[in-house]
C-alpha cells in the first residue's frame, strides 16, 4: 500500500490520519468540537481535495463543480428512498452517478481550455441547477428539495425491519449516522480520499497532470494526447464531489438544488485557493477554515459583539461594534470576499505558501531549531 512513497510521504499520511481521527480533540480549544461542524470539515475537505486534483494539478479552473456535489446528493437520497437506509450503497451510487455525469460534462468541456473551459463548466452547472428547479421536479422535487417520506419503497429494508412510526434514519448496518459515528464515517472516507490524492500526486499520472498545467502545447508536440489524462482527472474530481455530496445526504438525508448553484461552485474554489492550490494539505485546511469561520462569524450579531467587548469603555465598545458589525452575522460573506481578495493579491499560493514564506524568513534569521526542521520536512512533503 505504501510502496513507492518516500519516508516523508508516509509520515505525512500517518500524521494526517492521526490528526483527522483526533479532530474532535484538536477542535476542542477553538470550540468547534461538535459533530455537525466536524462532519462539515470532513465533507468539504473531501470536496476540496477533489477539486484540487483538477484545478491544482491540471490548472483547469472549473466553475461548475457544485453540480457534481448536487448530483451526488440526489443520487444518495434516491438510494435511501428506493432501496435501503444503509449508507454504503447510497455512497457508492452517489459516487458512480456523479462520475458518469462528470464523464459526460468533461468530455464536452475539455475540448476547450482556459476561460472557455470555465464558462462551459459554469454553463453546464447552471443548466443542471435550472433544470433541477423546473423540469426535473419529478426527480428533484423542485424547490422543496428531495426528502425522505413515510411511504418510500425501501425494498431491502422492508424485508428485514418493520416500518417504524417515524422516518427511519441513515445507518451503517444498524449504527446510526448522526453525531460522532457520522463524523467518523466521513472521517474514514476523508482519510481514504486523502490517501488516493497522495498516490495520484506521486504517480506518473500525477506528473502528467502537472505537465498539462505547465505547458500543454509542448506536451502535444512531444506526442502525448493530453485529453484522456485531463478527462480522467476531471472524472476523479467529479467523483470526489459526488462522494462529498452523498456524505452530505448521509448526515442529513435531504437534497436541494441550491447545492448546485454557482455560488456553491465558487465556494470550493475559495477553499482551494485559500489553502493553496496544488498542495496536498492546503485544500483541506482551506475547507476547514472557511467552514469554521462561517460557523463562528455567521452566528454573531451586534448584541453578542458588544457583550464580548463589554470589558472596554462604552465609546470604544460602540466604535468596535460599529466597525466589526457589518462583517459578522449576515455580513460574513463580506469578510470572506475581502479575505479571499487579499489572499489572491498577496499570497497567490494560499496559506501553504504563507507557511513556506514564514519558514524561509525564520531560517534566514538563523533560527535552526527542531520545530523549523519539522516544518521544513512537512512542507516538502506537502509539495
Amino acid at each position: 500500500m505504501f510502496a513507492g512513497l518516500t519516508r516523508n510521504d508516509k509520515l505525512l499520511f500517518i500524521g494526517f490520519t492521526i490528526a483527522a481521527l483526533a479532530m474532535p480533540l484538536l477542535a476542542w480549544p477553538v470550540g468547534a468540537n461538535y459533530p455537525d461542524l466536524l462532519q462539515k470539515f470532513a465533507i468539504y475537505g473531501i470536496f476540496a481535495i477533489g477539486f484540487n486534483i483538477l484545478f491544482g494539478l491540471t490548472g483547469y479552473l472549473s466553475f461548475g463543480h457544485a453540480a457534481f456535489l448536487g448530483v451526488g446528493s440526489y443520487a444518495a437520497v434516491w438510494m435511501f428512498k428506493g432501496v435501503t437506509m444503509n449508507v454504503i450503497p447510497a455512497v457508492i451510487f452517489g459516487v458512480m452517478v456523479s462520475g458518469m455525469f462528470a464523464a459526460l460534462i468533461g468530455f464536452i468541456s475539455l475540448r476547450r481550455s482556459g476561460i472557455y473551459f470555465s464558462i462551459l463548466t459554469l454553463a453546464f452547472a447552471q443548466m443542471s441547477y435550472n433544470l433541477a428547479y423546473s423540469v426535473l421536479t419529478p426527480i428533484t422535487n423542485g424547490e422543496t428539495g428531495l426528502q425522505l417520506s413515510q411511504d418510500d419503497a425501501r425494498i431491502i429494508d422492508r424485508l428485514f425491519v418493520e416500518q417504524g412510526a417515524g422516518l427511519p434514519s441513515t445507518n451503517l448496518f444498524g449504527l446510526e449516522m448522526s453525531g460522532y459515528p457520522g463524523f467518523y464515517f466521513c472521517c474514514v472516507l476523508l482519510i481514504i480520499a486523502f490517501f488516493i490524492s497522495l498516490r495520484i500526486q506521486r504517480s506518473p499520472f500525477g506528473m502528467m497532470l502537472r505537465a498539462i498545467k505547465t505547458n500543454q502545447v509542448r506536451m502535444n508536440y512531444t506526442g502525448f494526447n493530453t485529453r484522456p489524462y485531463a478527462l480522467t482527472a476531471f472524472i476523479i474530481s467529479g467523483m470526489y464531489a459526488g462522494l462529498a455530496g452523498s456524505l452530505l445526504a448521509v448526515t442529513d438525508p435531504l437534497a436541494g438544488a441550491e447545492r448546485m448553484q454557482w455560488t456553491a461552485s465558487g465556494e470550493v474554489v475559495l477553499m482551494t485557493i485559500l489553502g493553496g492550490a496544488g498542495t496536498l494539505i492546503g485544500p483541506i485546511l482551506g475547507a476547514g477554515l472557511i467552514k469554521y469561520f462561517e460557523n463562528i462569524f455567521s452566528s454573531y450579531n451586534d448584541g453578542l459583539l458588544s457583550e464580548s467587548f463589554s470589558f472596554l469603555p462604552d465609546f470604544l465598545n460602540d466604535t468596535l461594534v460599529f466597525i466589526i458589525g457589518p462583517f459578522v452575522g449576515e455580513g460574513w460573506s463580506l469578510l470572506l470576499g475581502i479575505v479571499f481578495m487579499a489572499i489572491v493579491i498577496f499570497l497567490p499560493g494560499g496559506l501553504m505558501e504563507g507557511l513556506t514564506r514564514i519558514h524561509g524568513w525564520y531560517r534566514r534569521r538563523g533560527g535552526g531549531d527542531t520545530r523549523a526542521a519539522d516544518a521544513a520536512s512537512s512542507r516538502q512533503a506537502a509539495e
Binding site: Y116, F124, S134, P326, L334
Partner: protein
C-alpha cells in the same frame, strides 16, 4: 404575428442589457487583457445609483395630515415637494433619468479607481488569478450593497408620463390590442445609441484609433511615444460607465436587488464567449441574439414542446457554439487560445 412581435421586442430589451454588459467586458478584455468578473457588480452599482438618487430626492419630513380631523395624524412629505410644490414632485418623478447624470461621473470615478487600485496589478498575472480577484471584488461589492440596501428588490418606477404603454400594434397595423411599455422602448433606443456611440468612438475618432492600435500591438504604440496605459485606463472607466448606465436604465424594468449583478454577469460572460472573446461586434450580435432566443424560448407554445427550454436555452446555445465554432461567432485567431 403580434405575439412574435412582442417576443421580439422583449428579446431585444433583454439582449440590450446583455449586449451592453458584454460590450464593456469585451472592451476591457481587448484593451487590458483582463477577465473582469466584477463587471456585473458595476452594472448593479449603476442600478443602485438610481435607488440612491431616488432615496435622496424623497427625504421626507413629517407634517400633520389635515384631511384627518379625529386625531393627530402625520404623513411624510418629501422636502422637495414641501419647498417647490409641483415642480418638486416632478423632480422626484424623474428620479431615474436624473440619476443617469449622477451615474456617469460616479461610475467613471469608480471605474478609474478600480483600474488604478486593483486591476493594474493583475495585467501580468494568469487569467485564473484575474478571474479570482475580480470574483472576490464582486462578492465584496455585492455584500456591501446588501448591508446598505437590504436583500429585497427596491422598486424604482419610471416617470409618470411614460409609465403607460405604447400602442405599437397601430404602428405596425396589428390592431390596438398589441401594446408595449414605453420605458422598454426607450431602453431599447438607449441601448442602440450607447452601442453606436461606443463603436463610433472607437472607429471614427483619433483617440479610438490609437486605442485600437494599442489593442492590436501594445508595444509598438508605446514605442511611438504614446502613453497607451493611460488611454486604456480611461477606456476601462468608459466600460464602467456603459455598465452603470445600463444598470440605471434597467431599474424600471427590473427592481434592483443585490444579486442582479451576478445574475447578469454569468449570462453576459456566456454572451461574450458565444460572440467570440475580443470581438466587439460579436459581443453585441450575440447579446441580442441570445436575448431574442431566450424570449422566444419562454413562449408557452415552445415550452409545451420542449419543457424547461427557457431555463437552459442560453447555456445550450453556448455549448453548441463552442463545440462547433470554438472561437465563438466572430472570434479572431490567437485571442485567448490557451
Amino acid at each position: 404575428m403580434d405575439v412574435i412581435l412582442l417576443q421580439l421586442l422583449n428579446g431585444l430589451d433583454k439582449g440590450g442589457a446583455y449586449a451592453l454588459i458584454a460590450l464593456g467586458l469585451t472592451i476591457i478584455f481587448g484593451t487590458l487583457g483582463v477577465v473582469n468578473f466584477a463587471h456585473g457588480a458595476l452594472f448593479m452599482l449603476g442600478a443602485f445609483c438610481a435607488v440612491s438618487v431616488q432615496a435622496v430626492l424623497t427625504i421626507s419630513k413629517k407634517v400633520k395630515d389635515e384631511s384627518i380631523t379625529f386625531f393627530d395624524a402625520y404623513k411624510e412629505v418629501p422636502y422637495l415637494e414641501a419647498w417647490w410644490g409641483d415642480t418638486g414632485a416632478m423632480i422626484i418623478d424623474y428620479a431615474v433619468p436624473i440619476s443617469i447624470l449622477v451615474a456617469i461621473p460616479l461610475m467613471l470615478l469608480i471605474g478609474l479607481g478600480m483600474e488604478r487600485g486593483l486591476i493594474r496589478y493583475f495585467y501580468k498575472r494568469p487569467h485564473a488569478e484575474q478571474i479570482l480577484v475580480t470574483f472576490g471584488l464582486a462578492i465584496v461589492v455585492q455584500e456591501l450593497i446588501k448591508a446598505q440596501f437590504g436583500a429585497n428588490p427596491i422598486p424604482t418606477p419610471a416617470p409618470e408620463v411614460i409609465a403607460g404603454s405604447a400602442s405599437i400594434g397601430l404602428w405596425f397595423g396589428l390592431g390596438e390590442a398589441v401594446v408595449y411599455p414605453w420605458w422598454r422602448l426607450i431602453y431599447l433606443a438607449f441601448a442602440g445609441v450607447v452601442i453606436a456611440s461606443a463603436f463610433a468612438f472607437l472607429n471614427l475618432t483619433t483617440y479610438g484609433m490609437v486605442v485600437r492600435a494599442g489593442m492590436a500591438d501594445r508595444e509598438t504604440v508605446g514605442l511611438l511615444g504614446i502613453n497607451i496605459q493611460r488611454r486604456f485606463t480611461i477606456v476601462f472607466g468608459m466600460a464602467a460607465v456603459i455598465a452603470g448606465m445600463a444598470g440605471v436604465m434597467y431599474t424600471p424594468i427590473l427592481p434592483p436587488d443585490y444579486h442582479m449583478g451576478m445574475d447578469f454577469l454569468v449570462l453576459s460572460f456566456v454572451v461574450v464567449v458565444v460572440g467570440g472573446m475580443g470581438s466587439l461586434s460579436g459581443a453585441v450580435l450575440a447579446g441580442f441574439m441570445l436575448g431574442i432566443l431566450q424570449s422566444f424560448a419562454s413562449m408557452n407554445e415552445v415550452k409545451s414542446i420542449f419543457p424547461g427550454i427557457d431555463q437552459i436555452i442560453i447555456y445550450l446555445i453556448a455549448v453548441v457554439i463552442l463545440l462547433v465554432r470554438p472561437r465563438g461567432l466572430m472570434g479572431r485567431k490567437g485571442v485567448m487560445e490557451t
